[in-house]
């Protein structure tokens, strides 16, 4: 079975083979590696040997992604096997549509920059969330229409709380109907 990994713009697929007690990985570009990933304790730490090169690493496995820490870096890798990829293809691509912009952290809403019905551009600030003494602008994730504003200045929000709902903006430039 094939495994598909995506780390930023690096996309790879891998196949595995057990041979004489060691694990061989073949990458889609034809490179192959003898690997040994050995858990150290139970906190997600591993000793990772790749063709005898040693890396001390941490893996945090979540649904669909693995957060990898090695060489002082932290990389979020999207990871799927063949079955999962097939299942996802059947489910079809969801696209944009109505979506929730949630608080990525707990904090206090100090300003709301948009109102319902506003058309916003990608990256435009929707509201400002203050946490740990820092003011953090919360941007739109694409060009969209503000469907609902769920917070007002002064609101205390927990991580994951709904801030704003966005809907796809119409393609054609139209005057705002009121």
């Amino acid at each position: 079975m094939k495994y598909f990994a995506k780390a930023l713009d690096v996309e790879r697929s891998f196949t595995f083979e057990r041979r004489n007690g060691s694990l061989l990985v073949v990458r889609d570009d034809g490179e192959s590696f003898v690997v040994d990933l050995s858990p150290v304790g139970d906190g997600g730490a591993y000793s990772f040997l790749v063709d005898g090169r040693s890396f001390d690493c941490l893996l945090e496995r979540e649904q669909g992604t693995t957060v990898v820490q090695l060489l002082g870096e932290r990389v979020v890798v999207a990871i799927q096997d063949e079955r999962e990829l097939a299942a996802q293809r059947v489910a079809g691509h969801k696209g944009g549509g109505r979506r929730a912009i949630e608080a990525v952290m707990p904090g206090v809403v100090v300003d709301v920059k948009v109102a319902e019905g506003d058309t916003v551009e990608d990256g435009q600030t929707l509201c400002i969330l203050e946490a740990m003494k820092m003011q953090n602008p919360i941007p739109a994730d694409g060009r969209a229409v503000v469907a609902r504003v769920a917070v007002k200045p002064g609101d205390v929000v927990a991580g994951g709380d709904l801030l704003v709902e966005l809907d796809d903006a119409p393609e054609a430039e139209e005057g705002a109907a009121s």
Partner: protein, 499 residues
Amino acid sequence: MSPPLFQRVLIANRGEIALRVIRTAREMGIESVAVYSDADRNALHVRRADHAVRIGGSAPSDSYLRVDAVLAAARESGADCIHPGYGFLSENAGFSEACAEAGITFLGPSADAIRKMGDKVEARRVADDAGVPLVPGLKDDVRDDAVLIEKAAEIGYPVMLKAAAGGGGKGIRIVRAEKDLLAAASMARAEARGAFGDDRVYLEKFVTRPRHVEVQIVADQHGGVTAFGERECSVQRRHQKLVEESPCPALTPELRAAMCEAACRLARAVDYVGAGTVEFLYSEGAFYFLEMNTRLQVEHPITEERFGVDLVREQFRVAAGLPVCEAPEPRGHAIEVRVNAEDPDNFFPSLGRIRRLGVPGGQGVRLDSALFRGLEVTPFYDSMLAKLVVHAEDRDTAIARAIRAIREFRIVGVTTSMPVAMRALDSEEFRSGDYDTGILERIDRRPSDKVLELAALAAAVGKFLATEEIPVAPSAASRPPISAWNLLDRAERLGRGMR
């Protein structure tokens, strides 16, 4: 052994700085009293201190910022001195005054010195009088829009608007053109009012390619002031320091001497007593006074490592009336990396429980932190988890050592800013020594291809081992050993099924 200078110190702070003070106090035979909020009941500073007193709820305004509660704790515990640490009440003149009234020694300057230096407008006036160079700008807050526009044009764009009562980067606005000036002024005022309850802002020239360089001083009660060299703090994002080094690679010996001399003059001008830091902007061979921080700074350990002094010990000594020590000959190069609980890409705070901790060690590595496995990182306090400090014989070795130590440092449970610091340290710009406060915006944030390829491979191997089919064994005798991976994944599947 001579008797200790004080009996018992109350530390009006938390986290690594509380621990820092407890350590020196213990070495000096001074008992320590920790104060804590509800969120900090199990914090390391509480556990390491000799005494601990609860002072209120988790929000700083319910505990660490309460002058009455801190003083009550000091009286209750019989403390004869108070160390304010940094942040919280450390630069609160009223607190210094209240300590004096209660007959408890405040390990810091007088209320008068705190007031003069805490008000940026007043501080500039004092500095100017003491012959400390200033950035061209206005000494007073200007409310008249027309005058503000005229003065900004005189100074020349870009200009900067700063909160008079500001600090930590709050209330600073850079204005590049006249059309943006008034809007920026009203935003700066609003932010200053919200953060400090004081909406005065002042205008000054925005210096090109600025570096943030600061001088550490300690002053005693007899007019003695010692400068312990400088620290270079230009690796900042949103005006929050991330990496500091000492010495500053840009300074000539002449400039360094002039800067230290200016810092000492300023300290004398306000009859300063205790540890303090005079911050300068350095730009193209000139330096200008920024502000004076009337407390111990977060980044003080790099000075300690180079000079072989204990600045907290000096604070105790000068507070007890002893003369400040002479500055020893500095040695080598020191770097501090602040480890913040935040997303390395967008710098959002990252909250959670520390599930795993592996700390760096080895020669020339010092870790000042209050981290422990099980620590809950809450939204109530600053996101700084630890200060990784390295010292080496020269700058190149110090950089290599810092990167080496970052790679050893493992924290699971929250994400940290360490990868950003590492890439800054590893950048050509930082290595050259010729950098400025814009460095973090310019460095390449993308991990190398080598790292991305390795991460992809590691993730795939992890996934493979977790989902590998477990062969159905015909008999127990020939059953192959089941790996921990298989068991883990089976447990996960069972867990999912039960939900």
